[in-house]
Amino acid sequence: MKLTGAEIIWECLIREGVDVVFGYPGGAILPTYDAMTKYPQIHHVLTRHEQGATHMADGYARASGKVGVAIATSGPGATNMVTGIATAMMDSSPIVCITGQVGSRALGTDAFQETDVTGVTLPVTKHNYLVTKTADIARVIREAFYIAKSGRPGPVLVDITKDAQQLTAEFDWEAAAPKLPGYRPNLRALPTEYERALELINSAKRPVILAGQGIKLSGATAQVLELADTARIPIAVTLLGLGVVPASSPFNLGMMGMHGEAWVNQAIQQADLLIALGMRFDDRVTGNLKTYAPHAKKIHVEIDPSEVNKNVHVDVPLIGDLREVLEELLPKVRTSDRGEWWAKIAEMKGDSAVRDIQALPDNGHLYAAHVINDLWRATKDRDTIVVTDVGQHQMWEAQYYRHEKPRSLITSGGLGTMGFALPAAIGAKFACPEKDVWVVVGDGGFQMTSCELATAEQEGIKVNVAIINNAFLGMVRQWQEFFYEKRYAATPMTGPDFVKLAEAYRLNGLRCDKRAEVNSTVKAVLADKRTTVVDFVVEQEDAVFPMVPAGADLDAMIRRPKREILAESGADKEWQMPNGESAAVSELTLTGGPSKAASVPAAKRKPAPSLKKKSAETSKKSSRPVVAKATKAGKRR
């Protein structure tokens, strides 16, 4: 059958099981868009920005486990995709991006809208292609899908010249099977490594499982729980691993790492064996590598051999698909109760629990952690996916939303991409239309891609947006507060009236600034059929605790303050790092301090002026006045 290149693209997508693509047209991809009209089986979502298209494809992939597809034109269309591609790369998310390219004869001439997109995306794709011949399109697209989803998943970009889209070639799907002689996605671990792993597991006294998103990617939740249950091994999870084992599982300790729980990091530091499952020892989970889990032997089960021994010395590498590896191991894992170890963990846990902000009664202030926790309570009995952006709210979400199922949290962990949440949530909604999709996003990140509200409106889909609005680039402000003597350079940030913004997009907008109203607000959101944006006006200078300062030992955390005491006395004695370096931190302005609860709608708040000059002047005298000034400037009330 002779078809144009453009038709071949759609025929291939249909055969790959694609039913929705996210894209944005332009000259170099126009033949493909023109051919699209013949293929109504595939729904095209017109985004408002190509970055949005890639995040949507990514969100779709993460929610469904299938490959997400994004389409853009050459040059600026393709370069706009780079952030989304890099995001997918860092989090091993399978997406295929198809871009138009100038005609093959114009290649290399700096033609209008020409960019060497394969060159630009080389470091941020799992693989990429430039296709100049119609006859190659089918094979390349088949290879792209195969590469994207097999082994360690990742993004693949296919750049197709305009003439290759226009000209015709014989289309033969079968004949276009992938030819990838060098690609080995299915590595197998050595039998000797299994033996060594079993020896270590069976003889360990204080083992900890480190659960990463590889468990989700290989569908190994049941096997991991069985391992934990058989050998009574506690599980610590990474950010991207949240949900791979239920939060309610008695074996699940909670999140590890920079903003993980203190007892989890302590358990890791005291462990004599770490069983790392589908995680890659990112610097956000290890803290100081030199002192990371010093007593522990390490078993690393991982599909990508280049991750093994990259950051942390591993005693036993088990390279291969996680589920297969665990199925091989499980029958030989000895039952054991490890009572002492669990007693120790219980002790560490008890010490931390009293510091939790949840222990703080409603004092009239709206804390982000309360918003998240109440959101969880109000939505936990529904099938919910939460998509977060990047910043403090992301960490509070990770701490206070209790994820029970794999793929119920979608977040940019590796690249930490602000602007990810809203478009990724739209993609997730297309993957799972029957589920509730919530966006938890900061006022900063939301403003990066809020244009995609128009996409949600045009598509008539419902995603629910909870803006955690602190009128700051909160996480950066927190670092300035802790490590830069509170010089709030370029972090106070105004926004539009988010309620009116939603309304301007013909969507529903709500505002909530009282804890008592969070629950009813969530109910109101769920009752509305439209995409709804809630502006949660929260404490401006709240900080995420606990925190491992960059470069510190994993268990040398800045602990949570004992807030109930602080709220009454204003004392700040409780702020200290375990290693005694408390000077900078003990100066922290405390949430729940004297400032008044938010009660004025965001629209009426004063905009925050630039702080550059003021900070420089005042910081000479001491750090405190800067805080006062900065706070005032940043205040909206």
Binding site: P181, G182, L190, K290, P305, S306, H313, I319, G320, G416
Partner: protein, 190 residues
């Protein structure tokens, strides 16, 4: 930093060299030399990469090379009996007085004069990179006008071909890789 000699067989497709070079830069490994050429198999090119790395670092390079879809096979020849050869062309100044001395060195190094001029000679020399380095050293006092070296190509000695399934694919990873490649401390970004 010790040097490692890696052999990579790659598909002969556009951009493959770029992928390899980009990988080295991305992973912050310094390439000492990189040569590429055809092999006995159509469609397959062979790279010889000399890289500044310890044994453990070389394992990481290998593992990363394997991630490239167009890379067919990687072997580390560093600790195997292997031939390492490089070609150098040296244009050296000569006078009536020095010409014979230079020719003596050409003889000693089993090099060849490939171009003669009143005031200079062009000499072709092959051998190990060390030998070419020595040759350069002895000629330097006469005045080297131009020097070009190809970079090393390497081949294992003996009858065997490179293993079809080199160790890394079976997941053997050197013990201390992390120690010398770890980026100290934690990154400071938000």
């Amino acid at each position: 930093m010790p040097k490692h000699t890696l052999i990579a067989y790659v598909e002969d497709v556009p951009g493959v060299l770029n992928r390899v070079a980009s990988l080295f830069r991305r992973r912050n490994f310094n390439i000492d030399s990189l040569t590429v050429g055809r092999t006995e198999q159509a469609g397959v090119s062979r790279l010889t990469v000399v890289v500044d790395a310890t044994d453990a670092g070389a394992r990481i390079v290998e593992a990363n090379l394997y991630k490239l879809v167009n890379v067919l096979r990687v072997d580390d020849l560093t600790h195997k009996p292997a031939l390492n050869r490089e070609l150098g062309l040296v244009k050296v100044k000569v006078t009536a007085a020095t010409r014979s001395q230079v020719l003596e060195f050409v003889d000693m190094f089993r090099a060849r004069v490939v171009d003669v001029d009143e005031e200079s000679l062009v000499i072709e020399v092959t051998g190990t990179p060390e030998k070419i380095g020595k040759f350069e050293m002895v000629l330097r006092p006469y005045g080297i006008l131009e020097l070009v070296r190809t970079g090393s190509v390497s081949m294992a000695r003996g009858h065997d071909k490179l293993s079809a399934n080199p160790p890394l694919v079976r997941a053997e990873v050197a013990a201390s890789a992390a120690d010398d490649h770890s980026h100290a401390g934690v990154s400071m970004s938000v």
